[in-house]
Symmetry: C2
Subunit: 243 residues, 2 copies
């Protein structure tokens, strides 16, 4: 695949007027982060996205985009909303983009039209990601509470993704997907607190989580803190789960 993002897509190999945007979330140092991209010469950040080839369905396209940039496979990925407002596509901005990237083989005219976009959210362990950047782009994890200036409706897409995850709680195995194999009870609680936008009593939270049986206590403690190291926990094997 070329480093020019226009390259893999052209008028003949993609489904017309349809794009995919991925809200890729992870947990790192007590914060939930979203992966964003900025192209050179542009002054706003954007969700990782792309188009659906004629030979794949939307899920496959979303997985492809995700794996290409994060190197991770078997990512937890769900569609959550189709964004189709007329003013979400900024045709002028697309024209500027095409002007900068067009070439003989691909005049980019297919991009000068209204696009509807399927939103996907992905939950991924921070350490499973190896960012893969083309020379003309920068990828960066942003705290979901400290977002930079975003392209078109992408801030709304992120907010909608978070609202969806919140509303699907506890059906979505959010801790399981976001935390590393071994984690402390405080880390798990932080994930819950950030997503649900509320705080939990430490003791009640721990009792409830352990009573559900999906989380089991290990006999290890977290290294690095020499004074009163917290106990580590892990998720029970999936075949014992309700998920």
């Amino acid at each position: 695949m070329s480093t020019n993002k226009l390259w893999p897509y052209n008028a003949d190999n993609i489904h017309p007027g349809f794009s995919i945007d991925c809200v890729i979330l992870s947990f790192h140092k007590g914060k939930i982060k979203v992966l964003l991209r900025k192209f050179e010469l542009e002054d706003y950040w954007a969700l990782l996205g792309g188009f659906m080839f004629n030979h794949e369905n939307a899920e496959q396209a979303a997985y492809r985009i995700l794996e290409f940039h994060t190197g991770a496979k078997h990512i937890f990925l769900k569609q959550f909303h189709l964004f189709s407002d007329l003013n979400r596509t900024n045709i002028e901005k697309n024209k500027d983009y095409v002007d900068r990237n067009k070439n003989q083989e691909n005049d980019g005219k297919w991009l000068i039209r209204r696009f509807i976009s399927m939103g996907y959210y992905a939950l991924i362990k921070y350490n499973d990601v190896t960012l893969s950047m083309a020379p003309d782009e920068t990828l960066k994890w942003y705290d979901i509470h400290k977002l930079p200036l975003l392209q078109s409706d992408h801030e709304n897409i992120i907010k909608t993704a978070l609202a969806t995850i919140r509303s699907m709680f506890p059906v979505i195995p959010i801790g399981y997907e976001l935390l590393p194999e071994k984690f402390t009870m405080t880390e798990l609680r932080k994930v819950y607190e950030i997503i649900l936008e509320k705080t939990f009593d430490r003791r009640n939270f721990q009792r409830k989580i352990l009573s559900e049986g999906h989380v089991i206590q290990l006999e290890e403690t977290k290294e690095g803190k020499t004074y009163h190291p917290p106990i580590l926990y892990t998720f029970a094997p999936l075949d014992k789960e309700i998920y």
Copy 2:
């Protein structure tokens, strides 16, 4: 609008390769029903669907389709899933359909391609509907547990809609949308039981519903049954609701 369903849509006025399918649900005589359509000369039923004009977004298109066929406005309508599998579009069937309906102004070639479809579910009061049928089509309410032979992946779309509604319970005001203004506690319980696929203890159900405060008891009883007429209930005004 013409009676020919191909008429309103053509290659220039719709968003390409994109359709909308509506799972329209209502409650009647103790059963949850879905509204289906059958065209003359075809041997399968289908969800009510259509395409998105270039001047509208997907929600507007779904509302337009819904209102056109049911005569009802302000319908509760939510998108729930994008169906994009490669084999969901039966190109040959579309060709047959085009052959039967094409004319000079509209050759129907725009229909001979892969379509992705956004699924919407609608909840509507049975008595609010006045079915509006073109001469070449039949509309009919089917018990969701007794579906006829359905076009392409439409059975899957219906099942996915019901699973979505179930998983969103109790966020979706399902009783409020499906029941008439005045209803009995047994009718409300039936709606819950069918959607959630479980039974509830009559007494506990009633206590719980009334304790939530969204349903209030009227001083009327249901007519027609002369012996021990059930008490009627209604939903509290929306501004007191959590919805």
